[in-house]
Amino acid sequence: MASSYSAKEEDGHHSGSAGLGGAAIRTRKPDNTAFKQQRLPAWQPILTAGTVLPAFFVIGLIFIPIGIGLYVTSNNIKEIEIDYTGTDMSSPCFNCSQSFSWNSTTPCKCILSFSLDQPFESNVFMYYGLSNFYQNHRRYVKSRDDSQLNGDERSLKEPSKECEPYRVNVKPIAPCGAIANSMFNDTLDLFYLDPNGTKTQIPLIKKGIAWWTDKHVKFRNPPGSNLTAVFIDTAKPVNWHKPVYELDTDPDNNGFINEDFIVWMRTAALPTFRKLYRIIQKKNNQTPTLPRGNYTLEVTYNYPVRSFEGRKRMILSTISWMGGKNPFLGIAYITVGSICFFLGVVLLFIHHKYGNRNNSSDIPS
């Protein structure tokens, strides 16, 4: 019989009847609003043959052309990939890959030659690609200090703890952290071998390879006109050959706002990735950017990947409205579109054969 006691309930219904003595009798009748009575006007779609089947056909009809378009576009992109890791004895870079040490002062160079069967007409983008490199490992991704990279003076002197163990090397390291420390530092040069035997270096543009927001907002040098002075109290990352203020001679591409550095700092989502290295600008409409013929790639081999079985690649690629070469989307669209169409036919058949089960009012009572 024990009921939860509330002091008010002692008053019971008598408090209610006390109010009835007054002239205005307030009833407790609930309001008649559509909301309270759950009568809100509503759209009540149901899956009928009239809506589902056309939807399948329409999706099929839309997806297949898109897929074909994507596939063709992707196929039209010209791309050449050259692996220069040098694990193979026959590779020109074999020696360089074997005799590696971070501290070696004499750069190891190797030269690879390749040829293009077809000319690359439009702008050509030069990428370096790494495989089996876990740029997305949690400890690796964390190991940076965005405040420092944004030019914050306090963080410059005292980098974030996340940067450990690349935080302090006697002096605070700038830029700190594992990402910066492992920056890709091979130099790639491209030469065109004219059929007449001359070797012309192809001009590689190194600016305009990073996101505008990264270059202008996310990365900033600490205030001060002389970068050397600004970074005087800092140490260079352990693996680096030069300090951060000597990455380039162009003051607009030096220090933290060096575009090669920025591109490296944008960590990849997957262990196999490519990063934009240089751009080969189209000169004029008459000649292709990279004519058909033989080329040599001169690599200054600094970056060790052999220890973790990584691969290094150089990629030359043109692009389209949908980015780089990737046939997946095109194939996927064509497949999904076809499946839709097929399903539509199957469902139509089933509906035709069994669909009347729903129409008859055989609701059991």
Partner: protein
């Protein structure tokens, strides 16, 4: 110090348990030495200082909250932390603060109520004069003065009153739910004090009594006054919570104050009911924890392998902390993944479930179709956590009186001297159905007639007016032979307080036909006979009891003639008739059968003129017997038997026990919804059976109705087995029990057995007692569950609870109990859902119920509409909620294989933080608040729609497994499609897009759009609110994303928003949008195809009705079916007499008789409300409780 402590809300535990209470009137110093609690009450839990710490402490005791604190601690360990602390803190804070706010507002209300009650004024005798004092300042030992209609301040010892014999009348509705007045009487020695303030102030009686306890019906103690020790019992005690009625004033001595009062001692915590979905959810949550551990183990094993194979050689670029090796890393990774994958057990699930249950409860409160105009009572969801279970009810246990019936009796037919009256006949002699329009008999010739009494047969009035002696005797008997109390406020305005409604109806009938019972004293009865005031001497009342089934009075009329008037059950009366009445008896029996066939309650009436000498002799022996010390009742019964013989039959009366509106229709609807209805009533078998027929439970179409009425256990068993064998000849002897073991709890479930055709079962109280014994329970349950309708008669409140418990325990079914009186409380509390009928008298059933409304017929709306919707919504909510969270989480699992199992997240941390709180919260709440498959009218049209709920079809372990698989599929799409699309891809200007941040943005956008589309597919009922929530949430997502990834946010909070520019740089890429489109289509297409296929091949009842609704959109619904009023064709004899014993004593002892006080302003406050005026007069049952021992 003590007051300071109590002010701080800390209860100082009494070290010594009080063994005896000792107090002295008017001696505060003496009483204070015992440190008794004063009269202040405190139901609030916190005060200003303790609120925050206490509340937080309580909240952290909840498992979910504690789990999140545990996660938070994990996150603070840098080696483990895979997510920033805010991903846990923000949701946790939100949840904590919502609960905090709710508890705060609850407690403020309690504080207000406490203050309101504590600050009530009462007159207290202090220092020899009456002073107005606040309730909370009243101390034990104080003498207080109460006036009419005031609440009793504390538990008081009644000292004196304004009424003769020191009587007072109290109403105990708030305490036990009974609205009839009860009498308390003061001791003579204290009653003599009267209202003499001097003498009262000098009163120094000492009370020794029991310590505070919660027994409302018991009190033991002694009062010592001037050396004389008197014993005290419950009759002298006024309990807090009662109201003083019809008594000008009284004085009382405070015995227990505040928390010590019996009212407060009784206010324990009510049982916390949980729904079956709650239980299922608990099981699932445990399973989810296991699943979480499983996933984390796989990932940490993966991590160990990775660290061993790759990590060792990757040290050049990613050095390890000192001393870290693969196994340590794997261990840490396990916990890191526990953090990341914690979204499978989302904290917001519990909050959302509460919100939507609350919302659905409000819809019940707001429903105008469950609002009763006459009593101004809306439906009320008193428990807000049980709604979805309303959609799963399989068994309904209903009380009869006041629930199925109105507890209003109307005098309908009578048979006088072999002539039947009351039937309306047209000119051709055909029976006419009585409707509202039928002409009523005009009683204006009788100034004392009750205007609310209707009768349709003019012949009877003619007969009375013509002065037919039999007819006059008939009504004279009705006016004299009863125990009704009259109440005459103003001249000619009579009110009757009857012990049973039948009796009230009979006396009122007599009143209207010109035999007005006007007043009584212990010795006389005053009647106005056809306008002539007459006073009869009342010589004896031969009271009713369940064995005698009759009552008689012996009166002497003004002429000095002695007569015995007797009324009672026909079988009993017929046995005692004078042979001369044999012929009349035959005719009357015929009439009685006819009445019983119509479901009326009948009584036979007889009289006998007595011989003066014989009576004197009898009277002496009667006196002897009534003063006998042992075996008094048996002796009295024998004496009564002696004089109640050779009676002359007058006729028979028939009273209709009116059903509530719409009861048969409701029962038919519920039966169609495959809900089984058991009526548990205190009535006797015949009455219950009749009601069963008239309210459509028992039907003529039923193959057979079994009646179990045996006297020994063996016979009962035999009858049950026979019934079962008849229903299902192949049913075996062993009950089909399905045993299952779940989480260490053994459970037995009795399976349903197949029966062809419908059967009914009626079991009487005696047999039920046997059947409920341990070894026969299952037999009863098996047989009863095979029947469509079950009626148990003569059931005690305890048995009601036992029957409910029996079904609840052994059947995998949800039970609902509905009732209106205090005797239903036990069953209401036992059942999964308790429903109270409100708006009538008595609050007890309502107070202990989970839902309450005014009329039984609202039950169909509560179940078939609200319950069904609630269940549908809750299941949809859970299915969708688990889907969206599993999908969200599994993507992390797949990503683990591509990031070296390093517990790197796929999404931005901010997205993880607010995915559940903002982006997906409102749409799913909108879905689960507004969704309806078909509207209420169609729900009524097809009660079969209710069946999926009973079978747990919408959410079960199977459904959960399907969700798991579905999520698995979706997450595979949501990870691998973006993965493949972004592999080695660049932007349309050659720059990077396969970076981590762009990939995260792509994955989260795909996810959000895919789950939103899934929500759209689940929504049946698109209101503007749903549209707004869905589109709003998507827009909010993009707005928030662009804001968080903007330059401004980055420059202000550099380290918190590292995703700067990601949205701008990737969401303008066509291939990103093509990927989003592809994932969305891939996620939703199979769902659409599967659902369409099922609709085509195996449509559910739901699909069919929805299809029909679609077709019928142009054509309006058929009008609601008319239920023809059923006539019962077969004659069943049913003689009923709802009566209780024990009232005759009071009539003769005069304890209830009041001396009219002319100046008294209000005697019956309840009868002055407009509500009371507009309803026919009802009669309160005084000893309804006692009727069913």
């Amino acid at each position: 110090m003590g007051s300071l402590l109590s002010a701080c809300g800390i209860n100082v535990k009494k070290k010594k348990v009080e063994e005896e209470r000792h107090l002295r009137a008017n001696d505060r110093e003496f009483n204070l030495s015992f440190k008794y609690a004063n009269n202040a009450i405190k139901t609030s839990k916190y005060n200003v200082f303790t609120f925050l710490p206490l509340n937080l402490f309580e909240q952290f005791q909840r498992l979910a909250n504690a789990y999140f604190v545990f996660l938070l601690i994990l996150q603070l360990i840098p080696q483990i932390s895979s997510l920033s602390w805010f991903t846990t803190v923000v949701p946790l804070l939100l949840v904590l603060s919502i609960t905090l706010a709710k508890d705060l507002s609850d407690d403020i209300t309690r504080h207000k109520n406490d203050n309101h009650v504590n600050n009530r004024k009462v007159e207290v005798l202090i220092d020899g004069e009456l002073k107005s004092e606040k309730w909370m300042n009243v101390q034990v030992g104080d003498i207080v003065k109460l006036e009419n209609n005031e609440f009793v301040t504390a538990d008081l010892l009644l000292l004196s009153s304004s009424e003769p014999l020191n009587l007072i009348y109290i109403e105990t509705a708030e305490l036990d739910g009974e609205t009839n007045l009860k009498v308390k009487q003061a001791l003579t020695i204290t009653g003599d004090l009267g209202n003499d303030i001097q003498r009262l102030a000098a009163f120094s009686g000492e009370v020794r009594c029991e310590p505070p306890n919660n027994r409302l019906d018991k009190f033991t103690g002694t009062l010592t006054v001037g050396g004389e020790t008197l014993s005290l019992d419950n009759d002298r005690i006024l309990l807090r919570g009662c109201t003083l009625r019809n008594t000008e004033w009284c004085f009382g001595l405070v015995v227990f104050g505040g928390p010590d009062t019996k009212l407060m001692q009784n206010s324990g915590k009510s049982i916390f009911k949980r729904t079956s979905i709650d239980h299922l959810m608990n099981v699932l949550v445990i399973f989810i924890f296991g699943f979480l551990a499983f996933m984390c183990t796989i990932l940490s094993i993966g991590n160990a392998i990775w660290e061993y194979q790759e990590g060792n050689s990757f040290i050049a670029f990613l050095p390890r902390a000192d001393g870290a090796n693969a196994s340590l890393s794997a261990f840490l990774t396990f916990w890191s993944y526990v953090i990341i994958l914690n979204t499978v057990v989302p904290i917001s699930l519990y909050v959302s479930v509460e919100i939507l249950r609350l919302g659905n409860s409000y819809f019940i409160d707001w429903d105008r179709k469950m609002y009763h105009v006459k009593s101004d009572t809306p439906a009320q969801a008193r428990t807000t956590t049980l709604n979805e279970e309303l959609g799963q009810i399989k068994y309904i246990f209903s009380d009869k009186t006041g629930t199925l019936t109105q507890n209003i009796m109307t005098f309908n037919r009578c048979s006088i001297n072999g002539k039947s009256y009351g039937e309306v006949v047209d000119f051709a002699g055909q029976r006419v159905e009585v409707t509202e329009k039928t002409e009523k008999v005009d009683f204006s010739w009788n100034s004392l007639a009750d205007p609310k009494f209707y009768f349709h047969d003019h012949k009877l009035v003619e007969a009375v007016k013509l002065g037919s002696p039999e007819v006059q005797s008939f009504f004279r008997l009705l006016a004299l032979c009863h125990t009704v109390m009259p109440e005459e406020k103003t001249e000619g305005e009579l009110f009757y307080q009857a012990q049973s409604p039948d009796e009230g109806a009979l006396v009122t009938a007599a009143r209207n036909f010109g035999f007005v019972f006007r007043s009584r004293t212990p010795e006389t009865i005053s009647v106005v006979e056809m306008g002539v005031p007459t006073t009869y001497k009342l010589l004896a009342v031969l009271d009713f009891n369940n064995v005698r089934k009759r009552m008689s009075v012996i009166v002497r009329n003004p002429e000095g003639k002695l007569t015995l008037y007797c009324k009672g059950a026909d079988t009993i009366i017929f046995e005692r008739l004078h042979p001369s009445s044999t012929k009349l008896m035959e005719v009357t029996t015929e009439h009685l059968n006819e009445y019983a066939g119509e479901g009326l309650r009948t009584l036979a009436l007889a009289y006998k003129d007595l011989d003066e000498d014989k009576f004197e002799e009898w009277r002496e022996r009667h006196h002897e017997a009534s003063t006998a010390l042992d075996d008094r009742e048996a002796k009295l019964d024998a004496i009564y038997e002696e004089i109640e013989k050779d009676l002359l039959l007058l006729g028979a009366s028939a009273v209709e026990d009116k059903l509530q509106d719409g009861v048969p229709q409701t029962i038919e609807q519920l039966a169609k919804a495959d809900i089984k209805i058991w009526v548990l009533t205190g009535d006797k078998q015949e009455t219950a059976e009749n009601i069963g027929y008239s309210c459509n439970m028992l039907r003529e179409e039923m193959k057979e109705i079994f009646i179990v009425a045996a006297n020994t256990a063996e016979e009962v068993r035999e009858e049950l087995v026979n019934a079962r064998k008849k229903m299902s000849p192949e049913s075996g002897d062993e009950p089909p029990i399905q045993k299952s073991r779940l989480l260490g709890k053994k459970s037995q479930v009795l399976e349903d057995e197949k029966v062809d055709g419908e059967y009914g079962l009626v079991i009487n109280g005696h047999s039920l007692a046997f059947a409920l014994q341990k070894d026969m329970q299952l037999e009863l349950l098996r047989t009863a569950c095979m029947c469509q309708a079950v009626i148990c008669c003569r059931v005690t409140p305890l048995q009601k609870a036992q029957v409910v418990e029996l079904v609840k325990k052994n059947k995998k079914a949800v039970t609902l109990a509905i009732g209106d009186g205090a005797n239903d409380v036990s069953m209401i509390k036992t059942a999964h859902i308790g429903v109270g009928i409100s708006g009538q008298e008595g609050m007890q059933a309502v107070l202990s119920s989970d839902f309450s409304f005014a009329q039984f017929r609202y039950l169909q709306r509560l179940l078939l509409v609200h319950g069904r919707w609630s269940y549908l919504r809750m299941c949809k909510f859970l299915r969708y909620f688990f889907y969206k969270n599993f999908t969200f989480t599994f993507v992390h699992f797949w990503y683990g294989f591509f990031c070296g199992f390093s517990a790197q997240t796929v999404y931005d941390e901010w997205f993880i933080t607010i995915y559940n709180l903002m982006y997906t919260a409102l749409p799913v709440i909108g879905l689960s608040l507004f969704d309806q498959d078909v509207n209420d009218r169609w729900s009524f049209q097809y009660p079969q729609l209710y069946a999926p709920g009973q079978l747990n079809q919408y959410f079960s372990k199977m459904a959960f497994a399907r969700i798991l698989l579905h999520s698995c599929y979706s997450s595979l799409i949501l990870f691998f499609v973006p993965w493949a699309a972004m592999c080695d891809t660049v932007r349309d200007d050659g720059k990077d897009i396969a970076d981590y941040q762009s990939f995260a943005l792509l994955a989260q956008t795909c996810l959000l759009i895919a789950v939103s589309v899934q929500l759209g597919l689940d929504t049946y009922y698109w209101t503007a609110v749903n549209q707004f929530f869905l589109w709003g949430s998507l827009s909010v997502y993009f707005a928030v994303t662009f804001t968080m990834y903007s330059n401004g946010m980055y420059l202000i909070f550099t380290s918190s928003f590292p995703f700067i520019g990601t949205a701008r740089n990737s969401l303008n890429q066509p291939n990103v949008w093509l990927t989003i489109l592809l994932t969305t289509i891939l996620c939703s297409l199979p769902v659409v195809a599967k659902r369409f296929l099922f609709i085509q091949l195996k449509p559910t009842i739901n699909d069919k009705v929805r299809h029909k609704v679609r077709q019928a959109k142009a054509v309006p619904l058929p009008p609601p079916r008319k239920f023809p009023r059923r006539r019962i064709s077969t004659r069943r004899s049913g003689y009923a007499f709802s009566h209780a014993r024990g009232y005759g004593d009071l009539v003769t002892s005069g304890r209830f008789l009041r001396i009219p006080v002319k100046t008294r302003p209000t005697l019956f406050p309840h009868s002055e409300t407009p509500v009371a005026d507009s309803t026919p007069q009802t009669y309160r049952t005084i000893f309804e409780e006692a009727q069913s021992p």
